[in-house]
C-alpha cells in the first residue's frame, strides 16, 4: 500500500463576521489520499465546498479561521502557518489550485505569457535567476502539450481567448511547477458541455503525462464526478455525509441526501427521459448556531422524530462512510 500523501484530520473551519457572529462553515471533515487518487467532492451551492478548499491549502485568511483539526501534506502540517510561508513553500509546488472563474483568475491587462512567467519567477530559489527567454521556452514546451495554438495563446490577452482556451491556460499556469496535488474548484461549471469535455480531457492528459498525479475535483454535477473521480464525498451544510467509491455513491447511494441529489438530475437515457427531476424542498440550516440532530432532517423524506434530536456520526456502512443512523 502506497503512503498517504495528503491527510485531513477532523478539520473544522469558521468565519467571523464583523458583527461578531461565528459561522461554522466546515465541520469535522476527515479523509486521506494516496498518490494517484482522484477524490471528488459534491454538494449544493453554499455547502462549504470552496471554504474547504481554502482550508485544505492552509490558506485561512481572515475572516476565515481554523477551529480545530489538522491538514498534512507528506506528514507536514499546514495549520498555524503564515500565509506568506504557505505561498512560498506549499502553493504551486506541493498543492496547486485550479480556480472556478477563469476570467476572474487572469489579470485582464496582462498577456498570458506574462502571468505565467510570474509563477516561475516567484518560485525561483533565491540566488538563481532565469532569463525571460528561458522562461518563454519553458512555457512554450508546456503549453504545446495542451493541443492549443501555443504562440497565439501565450501572446494574447485573456479577453482575446475563448472560454475553453482561458480555462485551459489557467490549468496550464496552475500546473507549471509540477505540483504533487491539484485542487480543482468547479473548473468547468461555467462552460458548455463540449468545452467541458475538452477541459476534462486536458486534465486527464496531464495526469497521463505525469505532470501531477493526485487531484481533488469539486463540482455540483454528480454525473460528471462519476466519470472523473475514483472516490466521491458528498457534502451537506459543512459536513461530509457520505464517502465511498464513485460506483457506490452514484449507483447505489445510501444517505437520503445523496439519493435526493441523484433524483434531481436529468438524463437523456431513453427510459429516464420523462422522469421528473425532483427538487429538494426547503433550505439547508443556518450555520450560525450549533445544530442539534441531523442537519438534513428538516428536508429528509424518511426522517423520524429522533433524527432532530440525535446528532448523527459518520460511520462505516459496508465499505463506505455514511452519516445517517438509519442507512443500511
Amino acid at each position: 500500500m502506497s503512503a498517504k500523501i495528503f491527510e485531513v484530520d477532523h478539520l473544522s473551519l469558521h468565519y467571523l463576521t464583523r458583527f461578531g457572529e461565528k459561522i461554522n462553515a466546515v465541520t469535522d471533515v476527515s479523509f486521506s489520499m494516496k498518490q494517484g487518487e482522484i477524490l471528488g467532492i459534491a454538494g449544493e451551492s453554499g455547502c462549504g465546498k470552496s471554504t474547504l478548499v481554502s482550508g485544505l491549502m492552509g490558506m485561512c485568511i481572515p475572516p476565515l479561521y481554523p477551529t480545530s483539526g489538522d491538514v498534512r501534506v507528506n506528514g507536514e502540517s499546514l495549520m498555524n502557518r503564515t500565509v506568506e510561508d504557505i505561498r512560498a513553500n506549499v502553493l504551486a509546488q506541493k498543492i496547486s489550485m485550479i480556480p472556478q472563474g477563469a476570467f476572474n483568475a487572469l489579470n485582464p491587462v496582462r498577456k498570458v505569457k506574462d502571468i505565467a512567467a510570474d509563477v516561475i519567477a516567484a518560485h525561483q530559489k533565491s540566488g538563481s535567476s532565469v532569463s525571460p527567454k528561458e522562461i518563454y521556452e519553458r512555457l512554450c514546451e508546456r503549453f504545446d502539450l495542451f493541443g492549443m495554438d501555443t504562440k497565439r495563446v501565450l501572446n494574447s490577452f485573456p479577453n482575446q481567448l475563448t472560454a475553453g482556451e482561458r480555462q485551459r491556460s489557467v490549468i496550464g499556469i496552475s500546473t507549471l511547477l509540477n505540483p504533487q496535488m491539484v485542487i480543482a474548484d468547479e473548473p468547468t461549471s461555467a462552460l458548455d458541455v463540449s468545452t467541458q469535455k475538452e477541459v476534462i480531457r486536458m486534465i486527464f492528459d496531464l495526469l497521463d503525462k505525469g505532470i501531477f498525479s493526485t487531484m481533488i475535483f469539486i463540482t455540483h454535477e454528480l454525473p460528471l464526478l462519476y466519470h472523473v473521480a475514483d472516490n466521491i464525498a458528498i457534502m451537506y451544510a459543512g459536513e461530509f455525509v457520505e464517502m465511498g467509491s464513485a460506483e457506490q455513491v452514484v449507483k447505489d447511494p445510501r444517505h437520503p441526501y445523496t439519493k435526493a441529489l441523484m433524483n434531481a438530475m436529468l438524463s437523456t437515457e431513453q427510459s429516464q427521459r420523462t422522469r421528473k427531476p425532483e427538487a429538494i424542498e426547503g433550505a439547508p440550516p443556518s450555520l450560525k448556531q450549533t445544530i442539534v440532530g441531523c442537519r438534513f432532517a428538516e428536508r429528509c423524506k424518511v426522517a423520524c422524530p429522533d433524527c432532530k434530536k440525535n446528532t448523527q456520526l459518520i460511520r462505516m456502512v459496508g465499505d463506505r462512510l455514511v452519516r445517517c443512523d438509519y442507512a443500511k
Binding site: 451551492s45 480531457r201 427531476p277
Partner: protein, 264 residues
C-alpha cells in the same frame, strides 16, 4: 391575417457584427416559425449564436437581412413589444439594481404594462408572483439583491414573470449558474408558467438533456445555422446530424460506460 397562431416567424434572417475583414456572422440565414403555446428550445455550444437569436426575438437586435416578424408585424415599438414578450437571463445579479430593494424593483417592472394596474393591484400581483415561486412576501421585505443566494435571485426573476404575465417568455440559460436542486426547482416553475398562463416559451440552453425534458420542439444551432430541428424524440433518437450527436455524446451521464475513461 393568415396563420394568426404564429408568434415568431423568421425568413432567412442574418445578423452580423463588425465590418470588412472582421465581419462575424452570428446568425446565418435562419428560418423558422414558432407557434402559440409551444415550448421551443434553442440548443448549441458557446458562440453558436443562440443568445443573439434570443435577443432578436426580444427586439434588442435587428437582423441585417431577412424578415423577422412578431405576430405578422415587424418589431417597431419596443415598449409595446415588451408588454407581450419578456425575458429571464442567466445572471440574476446583473438584472437587478444593487441600490434598490427587490420588492420595489418588482413593483416598478409592472410600469411597462399599457393599462397600468392600480397601487393595490400592483401589490397583489407582486405578492402572487412571489407566492408562485414559493417565496413568502415577508421573507424578502426590505431586502437588497446581494442579500439573497443565486438560486433565490433566479426565482425573483421568475416571480417577475408571474407578476407580469407576458404572452411570450424568452429564457436565456436560466439554469446554467445554479446547481442541480435549484435547476429542478426552476424547471418546475417554467412548466407551471406554461400550464397556468398558456405561455409560449423559448428556452435557450447548451444542455440537450434539459431541452429534451422541457420542450415540444428543439432547434440545434451550430455556427449561426440551425442544423437540426424537430420534436425531442426526432432530435435525440433518429438523427445522424453530427453536431447533435456530439452534444448528446458530451453530456456526462451515469449510464454511459465510457465518457472520458472506462467505468464499469
Amino acid at each position: 391575417m393568415p396563420n394568426s397562431d404564429i408568434v415568431f416567424s423568421a425568413k432567412s434572417i442574418v445578423k452580423t457584427f463588425g465590418a470588412g475583414k472582421r465581419t462575424k456572422v452570428a446568425v446565418d440565414n435562419v428560418s423558422f416559425d414558432i407557434h402559440d403555446g409551444e415550448i421551443v428550445s434553442i440548443v448549441g455550444g458557446s458562440g453558436c449564436g443562440k443568445s443573439v437569436l434570443a435577443k432578436i426575438m426580444l427586439g434588442l437586435y435587428t437582423p441585417n437581412a431577412g424578415e423577422f416578424l412578431y405576430r405578422g408585424h415587424k418589431i417597431s415599438n419596443l415598449k409595446d413589444h415588451w408588454n407581450e414578450v419578456q425575458s429571464v437571463f442567466q445572471d440574476p445579479f446583473s438584472c437587478f439594481n444593487q441600490f434598490f430593494t427587490i420588492r420595489s424593483q418588482l413593483e416598478d417592472s409592472l410600469n411597462i404594462l399599457k393599462d397600468k394596474p392600480s397601487k393595490e393591484d400592483v401589490q397583489k400581483r407582486v405578492d402572487a408572483g412571489l407566492l408562485a415561486v414559493n417565496v413568502k412576501p415577508s421573507d424578502i421585505e426590505g431586502k437588497y439583491p446581494f442579500e439573497l443566494s443565486g438560486g433565490q435571485m433566479q426565482r425573483m426573476l421568475l416571480a417577475r414573470i408571474f407578476a407580469l404575465r407576458p404572452k411570450v417568455l424568452v429564457a436565456d440559460e436560466p439554469t446554467s449558474m445554479v446547481d442541480a436542486c435549484v435547476r429542478a426547482n426552476i424547471l418546475d416553475y417554467l412548466m407551471k408558467l406554461k400550464e397556468e398562463l398558456q405561455m409560449t416559451i423559448i428556452f435557450v440552453t447548451h444542455d440537450i438533456g434539459l431541452a429534451n425534458y422541457v420542450s415540444n420542439r428543439i432547434f440545434i444551432m451550430h455556427e449561426g445555422k440551425i442544423v437540426n430541428m424537430g420534436t425531442p424524440a426526432e432530435v435525440l433518437d433518429d438523427t445522424k446530424e453530427p453536431h447533435t450527436l456530439k452534444l448528446l455524446d458530451d453530456i456526462p451521464e451515469v449510464h454511459k460506460t465510457e465518457w472520458i475513461r472506462k467505468r464499469h
